[in-house]
């Protein structure tokens, strides 16, 4: 029997990647983007499994729905209640939560979760790399601004300004970016 899986994911590219990993298992997959109507849409679709990024703030909406499931609704059980601990731990570390319909066979859930976990681990790597790049870019901008301030204040060349900042950083056991930050803040206060 085919399972119907819902992915709650506003980013189309990411949603597509999760779909690609689940389709080979022969299941039907529907994507719901962000939105106020999340709970209503999930109810209408009545899926067997809902997958959502743990970092998605809409997750609490699903939580509420799972708690509120009345006798007329399809029973929604928590994934964490039903499957083995290792799988759950891996899922949480990968940043994905799953809501699973009560009574679904554990091995069927496990196959879906294995595929989803692999995908979300990849997302986490990508997110970390993006964060590292972003931080490097910000530090670079900060250092450039501080260099400009030092050049103007001391009447030195760009190379000399950078050398001064690097020496200060080494003397104080700090990062050049931290020294640059202090210069920019101080300049802002004194101007």
């Amino acid at each position: 029997m085919k399972l119907h899986i819902v992915i709650v994911e506003p980013d189309e590219t990411r949603a597509r990647l999760v779909i690609d990993s689940l389709l080979p298992l022969g299941h039907q997959v529907t994507v719901i983007g962000e939105g106020a109507g999340l709970a209503r849409r999930v109810r209408e679709i009545a899926p067997d499994i809902v997958l959502i990024d743990m970092a998605n703030p809409s997750r609490d909406t699903l939580e509420e729905m799972a708690l509120a499931a009345g006798p007329m609704d399809r029973p929604v059980a928590f994934f964490v209640d039903r499957t083995d601990g290792d799988l759950t731990r891996q899922a949480i570390e990968a940043g994905v939560s799953a809501y699973v319909i009560d009574g679904l066979q554990p091995d069927r859930v496990a196959a879906v979760m294995d595929a989803a976990i692999a995908r979300f681990q990849m997302f986490q790597r990508m997110r970390r790399e993006l964060e590292t790049t972003r931080r490097a870019l910000e530090e670079r901008k900060l250092i450039d601004r501080a260099k400009g301030i030092v050049m103007k204040a001391r009447g030195v060349s760009e190379e000399e300004a950078y050398a001064l900042m690097r020496k200060t950083a080494m003397d104080q056991g700090r990062k050049v970016a931290d020294v640059a930050g202090a210069i920019v803040t101080a300049a802002g206060l004194l101007s």
Partner: protein, 387 residues
Amino acid sequence: MNSAPLRIGFVPLLDMAPLAIAHELGFAQAEGLALELRPAPSWSSLRDMLLWGQVEAAHILAPLPVAMALGLGGAVARVDILQNLSMNGVVIGVSTALADALRAAGHGFGFDDAHRAAADLARVAPARLRIGVPFPFSTQAALVDYWLRHTPLSWDLCTIPPPRMAEALAAGEIDAFCVGEPWGSLAVETGAGALLLPSRAIWAAAPEKVLAARHDWVGDNPERTASLMRAVWRAGKWLCDRGNRQVASELLARPDYVNAPVDLLDRALRGEMVLSARGELRKVSGMIRFHEGAATFPWRSQAAWFASVLAARHGLDAAAAMASAKAICRTELYRRNLRGVGADLPGASEKLEGALEHPTAVASERGAMILPADRFFDGHIFDPEAH
């Protein structure tokens, strides 16, 4: 000594302040602890991080460990309450449209009368009021239900993570909200709504967030637990000093903590609330407490109150639920670990809730404990032994 950082989860809110202060002002370091504070986007994610060991301890909604103790909402491990982090600090707000209707109906926005606010709201509210709360197991959900249960109003509670509350109000997803600061004030600032009441107009001394940890972790790490409790307690005491408020707001405003404007954080810390874009100012004493009035003691009677509310909502046996809730309040650890740092310790670990009309001196080890007024707006007194 174990030097690995202690990971503590939090949801961005003013009342996570004791953790940020313990970390930033060296109270943790003085205990030989390195803290790693990890923000969570939602309460369910934070709960899972705590249950599955991604964090050792957490800043968590007071009723949430109680719900877990009752087996509600996917609990897989016992979580204990080590101490309370904050008291009050919550506001109820309405959309600009509802605020206008309330004004037209003569509501004066006195910001202190829960009876009046409910009665006036009942005259102008839509057939079913949609009220945003941060989580099904929250002080906010419990207080809204308690406040409105004997009114003609019909309402639905909608779960919305605190930082999103103002946005949800502006988008018309909800008509009103009950949320921790500064997210209520953000709705005022963005013009989405107006504040109607502080939560303390419903329950004058409501426990809000607690410091919670897994029961097995606490058992395996008595020293780290004690160090953490002392550092956090000292941070709460520091926050109690008026002179420190400005520094606290500046620190908390940072992106890695609450990520909100300094002056919004300042409002609840000072107890000077701006109600709407019109600029009405209301002073609220005890708007949020981190220390004074035994705010950090994990009263078993407060856990029992939440248990009685949850038992009624989910059809559980009230007496059994209250007994389970009391058992997770580690009052004995509080006494053992904080006696040495100067914390005053109450003679009892539970009390009648709602019995104090005025601040009242009670028996304590140092004889100097003054409990704040703690009345419920309807005058009800909750006896944790009565069921």
